[in-house]
Amino acid sequence: MLTVSVYRYNPETDQEPYMQDYQVDTKGKDVMVLDVLEMLKAQDSSLVYRRSCREGVCGSDGMNIAGKNGLACITPLSEVVKNNKLVIRPLPGLPVIRDLVIDMSQFYAQYEKIKPYLINDTPAPAIERLQSPEERAKLDGLYECILCACCSTACPSFWWNPDKFIGPSGLLQAYRFLADSRDTATEQRLAELDDPFSVFRCHGIMNCVQVCPKGLNPTRAIGHIRNMLLRSAA
């Protein structure tokens, strides 16, 4: 039997959050953490968490598993169970709505700030805006972000200033549009980022890189943004 300790909090009935222990029989199989949560849900239907695609594509089930942020659906038990015990908490740094469900408004507000869409003021061509394979290759390692918030909620700078620091996820996306050959708003985008908080709160501790379930590197993208700022201003 596996002991699973889960963070529980229902603001309507609980004074404060607490950890609840469950016993689960995984029949010795190395299932994913999400499968375990489904078993818990069958035991106790009051347990609440977000999930959707169950294959690491939708980014709904980001949570803190054994102390490290990750997606429950693609995290096997063998990676996170220690001494036959599994500890699951919500992503840290954002308000908890209930149990493992967090309020991601602040995260999305930062994403909205970087204008996550192509801006192009030249007349639209008859068919589509073409890119060379080299130009397209610049977007690799950037476009794959699924906005699961594992990185931003692992970042102390985002914990302390979630209203001012854009955070690793938003900055990865910011660079995705700065690097896009079809975007013509580079200067405006850079001007929006050149304050002491938006980009420069990153101190390069690389928690984001350590936790990203898609293996992306926000710290490197932030470095590229810094270099672009330096080149446009120096």
Partner: protein, 121 residues
């Protein structure tokens, strides 16, 4: 764009760049001083002769200025991380201003003191 009036250079880029430039100057000074003591048999006369020269005075003053700027930017970063309304409530802004003015005052006083010491040699 987040506006901030208490950071050193107002722009994140200039603060970031200054932080690195001042760090380089401080490192160079440290290496020079350690090497000077390591490779020379230093007594009062030679130490005074070294510091009496204008180039050394300028190098020392540059380092003191670097320390002042570096600590202003660094302490501003620390204070805006931890002494904030988000973490401490409404009193945080006044408290942070007191701390920031303290850091700025101490930094400037050290610079003035250093000028007095260096040009008093």
């Amino acid at each position: 764009m987040v506006t901030s009036v208490t950071s050193f250079g107002r722009s994140g880029l200039s603060d970031w760049l200054l932080q690195r430039i001042t760090a380089t100057i401080m490192t160079a000074y440290l290496i020079f001083i350690v090497a000077y003591f390591g490779f020379n048999d230093v007594d009062y006369a030679s130490w005074k002769a070294l510091n009496a020269g204008l180039p050394m005075k300028m190098f020392s003053l540059l380092t003191v200025l670097s320390i002042a700027i570096h600590s202003w930017i660094g302490m501003w970063g620390v204070l805006t991380d931890y002494v904030t309304v988000r973490l401490m409530g409404a009193k945080a802004t006044a408290l942070r201003m007191v701390f920031q003015l303290g850091v700025i005052a101490v930094s400037l006083l050290y610079v003035v003191w250093a000028i007095d010491v260096l040009w008093g040699i």
